[in-house]
């Protein structure tokens, strides 16, 4: 480093003896920082990136304004980009969905390719429309049927599932909707409090569950035969035609404890599911049918 010192400088830099390099003047416990110049190529790239950024400002949306942002000379926008991509995707899917449009759920189930598409589409549609009540995996909850088990109120065949999906349950204005109406035996004064307790205990007896010690099972048996057997059957095995649940199996939609049964008999139950026909297109309905059928309970 040959430095000329015509004028005395106030900041005199320290020169490191070993390397002959100037130091920055910083010192920590006797250790000084060498002021090594950068390689020219490094500096060149640094300047190039700065120039590059000006190009970016011009080409792409960059500067936020009060209500908008600068548009960039190409009018590039992520939103229009995604629209193009979505349209491409739709066109791609349309080709796959063409086979779905003409096939029945049973045919879709039998065709490995269509089945795979239906499962993917059905899973997505299920997450969007059904998971809110039935849970992500169709596990349901109290009052919302578990779609993974083998117990069906209205039948678990492909056609039965499709009909339930399309027309819903207890939807006003849909002729083919699933309707069942259990009387509110308590609220409407058909049975008294102790009679309801007797019926509830008898239902537990039918399902093979323990009963309360002071329960009048004989009365319950008689009342069940008179009031309930018409729909639930004499052995309480239920009836899918009428949407009457089987009371003897291990699964229950509203609970088999005395309190829940008392509530059911007193006020009746009546879950509602929207009719998805018209809201979802036919292909999606079919895909959902196949998907729900494959959850594990399909008949």
């Amino acid at each position: 480093m040959d430095q000329h010192h015509d004028v005395p400088k106030i900041h005199a830099a320290h020169i490191d003896a070993v390397t002959g390099q100037a130091t920055t003047g910083h010192e920590w416990d006797g250790i000084r920082e060498l002021n090594t110049p950068l390689p020219r190529w490094w500096l060149g790239i640094f300047y190039a990136t700065i120039i590059w950024s000006f190009g970016y400002w011009i080409v792409y949306p960059a500067w936020p304004l009060l209500t908008d942002a600068t548009r960039g000379v190409f009018g590039y926008a992520t939103r229009s980009d995604i629209t193009v991509q979505m349209n491409e995707l739709k066109a791609q899917r349309a080709a796959l969905a063409a086979g779905m449009a003409d096939a029945t759920p049973a045919q879709i189930k039998a065709d490995p390719t269509l089945f795979q598409i239906a499962m993917a589409q059905g899973k997505a549609a299920f997450g969007d429309n059904c998971a809110a009540c039935h849970g992500v995996g169709g596990a349901g909850g109290k009052g919302y049927p578990n779609l993974n088990d083998d117990d069906w109120l209205w039948g678990g065949s492909l056609d039965a599932i499709m009909q339930t999906l399309r027309h819903g349950v207890r939807v006003a204005g849909h002729d083919e909707t699933r309707v069942s109406q259990m009387p509110a035996f308590g609220r409407d004064g058909m049975l008294k409090r102790d009679e309801i307790n007797a019926v509830a205990n008898h239902v537990r007896e039918l399902a093979g569950l323990s009963t309360e010690p002071k329960a009048n099972l004989a009365l319950g048996r008689k009342l069940f035969a008179d009031n309930c057997a018409a729909c639930h059957g004499p052995a309480a095995k239920g009836n899918q035609e009428m949407g009457a649940p089987n009371l003897t199996d291990a699964i229950s939609l509203y609970g088999m404890d005395v309190a829940s049964l008392t509530e059911t008999i007193t006020n009746s139950r009546g879950g509602v599911m929207p009719a998805w026909g018209g809201r979802l297109d036919e292909t999606t309905l079919k895909a959902l049918t196949v998907y729900v059928h494959s959850l594990g309970g399909g008949q």
Partner: protein, 484 residues
Amino acid sequence: MSTAEADPDDIPLFAASRKVYPQSVSGPYRRAKWLILFLCLGIYYLLPFLRWDRGPHLPNQAVLADLANNRFYFFFIEIWPQEVYYFTGLLIMAAFALFLMNAVAGRVWCGYLCPQTVWTDLFLAVERFFEGDRRERMRRDEAPWTIDKLWRKSAKHAVWLVIAWWTGGAWVLYFADAPTLVRELATFTAPISAYVWIAILTFTTYSLAGIMREQVCKFMCPWPRIQAALTDDEALNVTYRYDRGEPRVSVKQAQKLKAQGAPAGDCIDCHQCVAVCPVGIDIREGAQLDCIQCGLCIDACDTVMTKIDRPKRLIAYDTEINVKRRMAGKPPVYRPLRTRTLIYAALILVVGGAMIWQLATRRTADISVLHERAPLFVTLSDGSIRNAYAVRLLNKRPEVRPFALTVDGLPGIRIDAVGVAPTADLRPVVAVDPDSSREVRVLVTVPAGVPLEASQPITITASDLFAGETVHATDHFMARGGKP
């Protein structure tokens, strides 16, 4: 410490690189470098065209990274994405090989095998062909532009670009069927990504091997820094034997001094070692970070020593310890087998052995099981408990294989697969296409009355009905534990 003073503002913002004009040299190390260069580049440029018959449906290129189909082919080895740990093994072995090389003979990798060195060497040869040797190049660079200078420079850059382009072109051939891709490239029907990658690699080869050269080693490469921490006094590094070379005196003066009985070194300070150095250093300053250990200074020095009738190898692959021993009048010792080298070699053998063992016992089928979480389990109407799993079966053979699924671990346990018909003995049989995988939803049921904890292990087994190969995976069967 000096107390000389300078204004910090006077320090330039950048330091221009000093252009290195390596002189040509001949000798055993130069010959070794040429041999390695032709070998490495020959393999690199021609390997994609080597064929390897794998039967129908599979590519017949010996080395192929088939990104579209998620397969990597290396001669008889076919690697699936989930077996990418083979590359981890290779990387570990490569790292230890580098450490071992370094412990035995310093940065031989840098001097002979590193792609940066190999291509720089080739580019230098082209430069020498058009622009002449060191002095001529230096003179021409300082001289004003003439037609002669212009065409020589243009021709050099043109040939550089062709080599760079061919380098990038060879690279993309490893990712697609080489003969097909060459035809597509020639007829401009190849995928756009092929052209983009060729352009990128043409640019990097041209700029790194042609323009940046030794600066890549000095500023960009991390290995010199790591290497400096790994080397030791017993590693064979390119060493100036200062015990023999110092003091430096001319040939004539040496005769005079010797006649007087005064000490005279063998180094005549001819600077040939500096002139031939591709990184432009003076090896006589001792072991240094910038030295790539290519040995060209040894060839240069040997040539001079032969001319002035002195013993060769004033500069040689030697250890710092031996220079000091010779100065002390002790005989030199070479210990290539040291704790350090033995540990590196052992680690290479362990990792390599593990990989070979893994390859040799590699299955051609695989199973992976994922328990479905929503719901964890389902109670069926008869009180039995059912769990659902996503089972993925892999078939690495080139034919369709039927796998029968069975499950063990609990009394009365049963397995069904959604959309798959069971055989007569109630085992679902899943057919998996050649060289692919298939996922099926599997339902595992345990009858009512079997005492169940919240979670218990089960084993799902897939058996190839024809070949008999079985694979299994363990998972958990969930239930509402503790309640009857």
